[in-house]
């Protein structure tokens, strides 16, 4: 019980911070979702970092280190490449967004391509990609509540409790709540993860180096990448896919809008990679769990960190770890929910009902929050995927927005709205077909060399996407060029 009481206290503090951040402010849709565009370097850092340290990091990364070994290292590799890309990518995105007072990611596409239909397509792709991301936060909350109750609360009940907490939190606080909770959460997770990452290897193996030596002796090859499957080719393609998709998430994209000036991104691009090193300690904890709680199979590998905590520490400390873990699900979970709701209300509903007022759209966005939670909850019950696999699926989908976005930035651009739409649709369709039918590149094209077969499906879809984008743009360019030129310069 002690552990659960501590976790409940964490939740109350988070909600209190959210209420406090909101009080005295008039919450327009822009205020509720992009914080009125007034955040400086530090807050943007915390929001983007808050995005980074999710349940995925806490439970997913340690779970993969525990269950898969070497391939888990991809998680450490991609973000630092994404920050390098962000140095050039985010300032023009921010400028354009500010100039046109954009709120959501699909607004960006609507404005750039002068096509509300393309905007709705982007919104739908974003929301669909966010579902697995949201599901993984809920899965994580379920694991945390259930493990911290020492088995008294079943995982199903725990997931429902977590979902209710998340929905209440989002409804109350909006983005200001997220930013403040992110401050508390980041301080806690840094402390907890570094402590666990040092203490657990010491406690169970007598040190980090010794731990790796004994794992390598017991399971040769576990700490490196296998020759086929999760091979170096898989690693490189997955790191690339995730780095390109990093800022394509609708909630990350609109968190970019909340900055006060574009230099915030450039400065953050220098410091965020170092913050990334916290993951190293998550890996240490995950590897130590191999020795502490061996034998967790399949999606149970996500339990490894918490089971180790329960086995090693007193209940009050399990509560602190669990409470921190819950915040890592709450902050990004709230951003995900809020963004999906805003996207659907503003860019899909508005397309059907262009005469809807801002008030109606704002109210609809808030009403959609519990609906989306319920949908994610349903998927969570039908789970069975590990946290990392859920995120990989989301990334494969969301990265399909990258080619169209990148090619929309130059002032003289080649890509047309038809090309962008056709590329996105073909990329997403490729991912969907491969994922739903369970086919692999190896089944389709067995004559290919092994490294090509191991490529992440998202990267293959990205190639299809880009090829279609260029072909359709070339075909539709002649007819759209006269109208495309004034649109590009049309600042409304």
């Amino acid at each position: 019980m002690t552990a659960l009481v501590v976790i409940a206290a964490f939740l109350l503090v988070a909600i209190a911070l959210g209420v406090r951040a909101r009080s005295g402010r008039d919450m327009s849709l822009e205020e509720w979702s992009v914080g009125g565009r007034g955040f400086g370097t530090v807050f943007v850092f915390l929001l983007l970092a808050g995005e980074l340290y999710t349940t995925f990091t806490f439970l997913g990364a340690s779970g993969w280190a525990y269950g898969k070994g070497g391939p888990a290292l991809y998680i450490l590799g991609y973000a630092s490449l994404a920050y390098v890309i962000s140095y050039w990518l985010l300032p023009p995105v921010w400028r354009f967004a500010k100039e046109h007072r954009l709120v959501s990611q699909s607004d960006f596409f609507v404005q750039k391509f002068d096509s509300p239909v393309l905007g709705a397509l982007v919104a739908l792709v974003g929301v669909v990609a966010m579902v697995p991301y949201l599901v993984l936060q809920l899965t994580g909350m379920g694991i945390i509540v259930s493990a911290s109750s020492y088995g008294h609360v079943s995982p199903h009940v725990a997931v429902v409790i977590g979902t209710l907490a998340l929905t209440a939190y989002v409804t109350v606080s909006g983005i200001h709540g997220s930013a403040w909770t992110a401050v508390v959460k980041d301080a806690l997770i840094l402390g907890i993860v570094v402590f666990l990452g040092i203490y657990l290897p010491l406690h169970y193996s007598g040190g980090i180096g010794k731990m790796f030596h004994s794992i390598d002796a017991a399971r040769p090859g576990f700490l490196t990448l296998p020759h086929s499957g999760l091979s170096p080719a898989w690693f490189a393609s997955t790191v690339l896919l995730s780095a390109l998709g990093f800022y394509m998430w609708p909630h990350t994209f609109s968190a970019v809008y909340s900055a006060k000036d574009p230099r915030a991104f450039r400065r953050n691009a220098v410091f965020l990679p170092l913050y990334q090193l916290v993951l190293l300690f998550v890996f240490f904890a995950g590897f130590a769990a191999i020795i502490a709680v061996p034998g967790l199979k399949g999606s149970d590998m996500d339990l490894s960190l918490l089971n180790t905590t329960v086995k090693t520490f007193d209940p009050w400390f399990v509560g602190v770890v669990g409470g921190t873990g819950m915040l890592t699900a709450l902050v990004p979970g709230s951003l995900l929910l809020m963004t999906s709701a805003t996207c659907l209300a503003k860019n899909v509903y508005r397309l059907a009902r262009p005469d809807a007022t801002d008030r109606t759209v704002g109210r609809l966005a808030k009403l959609l929050v519990p609906v989306l939670s319920a949908v994610a909850l349903l998927f969570t019950f039908n789970g069975g995927s590990t946290i990392v696999n859920l995120l990989l699926m989301g990334y494969a989908l969301v990265t399909q927005l990258f080619p169209a976005l990148l090619l929309s930035l130059p002032s003289r651009r080649f890509v047309t709205k038809q090309g962008a739409a056709a590329g996105i649709v073909s990329g997403v369709a490729t991912v969907a077909v491969v994922t739903l039918t369970g086919t692999t590149l190896a089944d389709l094209l067995p004559f290919l060399p092994q490294p090509v077969k191991d490529l992440n499906v998202g990267v293959v879809a990205l190639l299809v996407n880009t090829a279609v984008l260029f072909a359709v743009s070339a075909a539709t360019r002649a007819s759209t060029v006269p109208s495309a030129v004034p649109v590009a310069g049309d600042a409304t």
Partner: protein, 84 residues
């Protein structure tokens, strides 16, 4: 930089800086094919893990260098803001 060196600094930001930015990509995406082994251990880490950690740190260093070289960061903030 003085106005006289403007053309040079523009070329720096157009060509040299993206090239620098590509270095961490080569290190992680290309390097992984050559470092897929446990030995030698460095700082107690298996070599492959050390390599990835090294590039996370170097990624930050490279971005810091880019930040310092980029003439865009020397102008006052107002100059970068969009005048709407």
């Amino acid at each position: 930089m003085s106005p006289a060196r403007k053309p040079g600094s523009t070329r720096t930001s157009r060509v040299l800086l993206p090239l620098l930015g590509a270095v961490p990509f080569v290190g992680i995406l290309g390097g992984i094919f050559f470092v897929n082994r446990v030995t030698p251990y460095v700082l107690g880490l298996p070599f492959i893990l050390f390599w990835v950690v090294l590039w996370v740190v170097l990624g930050s260093v490279v971005t810091a260098v880019i930040y310092r070289l980029d003439p865009g960061n020397r102008e006052p903030v107002e100059a970068e803001e969009v005048s709407s």
